[in-house]
């Protein structure tokens, strides 16, 4: 690995030197250069391995579009959404909702998957980092929209009713893989990436949709 990394770096230096001192390399060459520099600049630490640098197609296309400063072509966005929707694993026996109290704990926790986290501690959902959720918690982020009264505002009085089915399914899908509905959403793909498990998602679902949850008061 070490040998490969230094070899890559050597190639990078040569590539840049060959370009000379006057002109900037073409976009494709800068993309390749970024890849080789990235490969040579990170190392494993604890549970976190360098394989995390491998981007899937969704991330690669969204990153490139953002760096270019132009949105994805509509058909490109649609293809990403379709591919991500296919990954959504629907809950066993149609059980969508768990316990909102557990959901609140998961929403509060930002633990998990950094190189300083203990792999034995359950991962959190990081939800409050970006969203307002319950009204009681005033320390919330604003990267995502407010989810206060999420279920109530969407008319969910009985999550098991046929009228609620569409919004309940959408919420599950959004938590499992947010990119199924918004190609370059900032939100992590919690189920798809295995950040939290199916049971934890059920609890977060309850926090958002259970009429008894403080979110819907």
């Amino acid at each position: 690995m070490r040998i490969r990394a230094s070899h890559v770096l050597g190639t990078v230096v040569v590539a840049v030197a060959a370009v000379g001192c006057s002109s900037l390399p073409q976009t494709a060459e800068l993309d390749r250069l970024t890849q080789s520099i990235t490969q040579a600049s990170f190392r494993d630490q604890g549970e976190v391995k360098v394989d995390r640098l491998v981007q899937d197609e969704s991330n690669r296309e969204c990153s490139e579009a953002q760096a270019r400063g132009t949105p994805l072509a509509p058909e490109q966005a649609k293809a990403i959404e379709e591919a991500n929707l296919k990954t959504v694993k629907w809950p066993q026996a149609g059980r969508f909702l768990g316990d909102w109290k557990e959901g609140e704990k998961i929403a509060q926790s930002g633990r998990g998957l950094t190189w300083t986290d203990d792999a034995k501690t359950p991962n959190g959902g990081n939800c409050y980092n970006c969203h307002q959720i319950s009204r009681q918690e005033i320390s919330f982020g604003t990267i995502g929209p407010s989810l206060y009264q999420y279920g109530k505002l969407r008319g969910v009085t009985d999550p098991d009713s046929p009228q609620s089915r569409a919004i309940v399914e959408y919420t599950w899908g959004k938590l499992w893989n947010s990119r199924a509905y918004n190609a370059c959403s900032n939100m992590p793909r919690f189920g798809h990436a295995g950040i939290i498990n199916e049971e934890q998602i059920r609890h977060v679902m309850a926090l958002l949709l259970d009429p008894k949850s403080p979110v819907n008061q």
Binding site: L30, I37, S41, F42, A67, G141
Partner: protein, 265 residues
């Protein structure tokens, strides 16, 4: 007395979430203002100044003749023009990696060993102290990174791509948090780093003293912790990726006044 406070708190909670929100933010602002009075970074700055002149290392020499880009021994104004291209190493370097180069060439230290030393340990402490002093010598000056050499422009372009590179289990990039105006994580305001975020903000704020862990952090350490929270693998100290990213942030901060060393929560 306790009852009154409790009632007051209840009243606040029941009255308006926005009001509670605002006062929480305000008290954090007050806390920050109190912190700014008497920044322990001064101690690291003094240590860095002493280290600059001190004969050390296998060659028992000082780094006083270190060329930080404006000629050997010129410190004032060097920080606000880094990262930049250095002909002797054939590389774009940031402040910390350049200091390690000088410790290697002038003092005979093993640069690789320093790069592998964890932050806040051994020679890394000295690199941070030196960086703090060098940076502080440019306090009040405006960022003005050179972009005349091709490699400096290549570093900017690579840094831009790294800034937007989504990956890891959470799909985070730098832009996830620092790409849009007026966003927060919990109550922490996030600077937009795709442009000049203002004087003494973002790139113009590090090295900084961190009250939460009582440590002095260089920009290398700040970026390292960003990548940790991004759930990325560990960025190697002085690596080309960190230099490129710093170049992107530094060029974007063109014209911002350096407030370094600052104090953070």
């Amino acid at each position: 007395m306790r009852k009154t406070i409790l009632l007051l708190a209840l009243g606040l909670g029941a009255g308006s979430a926005t009001l509670a929100q605002k006062s929480a933010t305000e008290s954090i602002e007050e806390y920050r203002a109190m912190l700014a009075d008497g920044n322990p970074a001064d101690l690291f700055e003094a240590k860095g100044e002493a280290l600059w002149k001190q004969a050390r290392g296998p060659k028992n020499a000082s780094v006083e003749r270190c060329d930080l880009g404006k000629g050997p021994g010129v410190v004032k104004g060097a920080f606000v023009e880094l990262p930049r291209y250095f002909a002797d190493t054939g590389k774009v370097q940031d402040l910390e990696s350049r200091l390690v180069t000088c410790m290697e060439t002038l003092q005979g230290f093993d640069g690789k060993a320093i790069a592998q030393t964890p932050f806040n340990q051994g020679e890394q402490n000295n690199v941070t102290a030196l960086a703090t002093w060098v940076a502080a010598e440019s306090k009040g000056m405006k960022f003005n990174l050179p972009q005349s050499h091709t490699q400096e422009r290549v570093a900017y372009e690579v840094g831009k791509r790294l800034f937007f590179m989504r990956g890891g289990p959470h799909d985070f990039s730098c832009a996830s948090c620092h790409g849009e105006e007026g966003k927060r994580i919990r109550l922490q305001d996030l600077p937009v780093l795709t442009k000049n975020p203002g004087n003494g903000v973002g790139f113009a704020a590090w090295p900084a003293y961190r009250v939460s862990n009582g440590q002095m952090w260089s920009m290398q350490q700040r970026l390292n912790d960003c990548y940790r929270q991004q759930r990325f693998p560990y960025p190697i100290f002085g690596s080309d990726a960190l230099t490129a990213l710093s170049t992107y942030l530094g060029v974007n901060a063109q014209g911002a006044v350096s407030a370094v060393p600052t104090i953070k929560r």
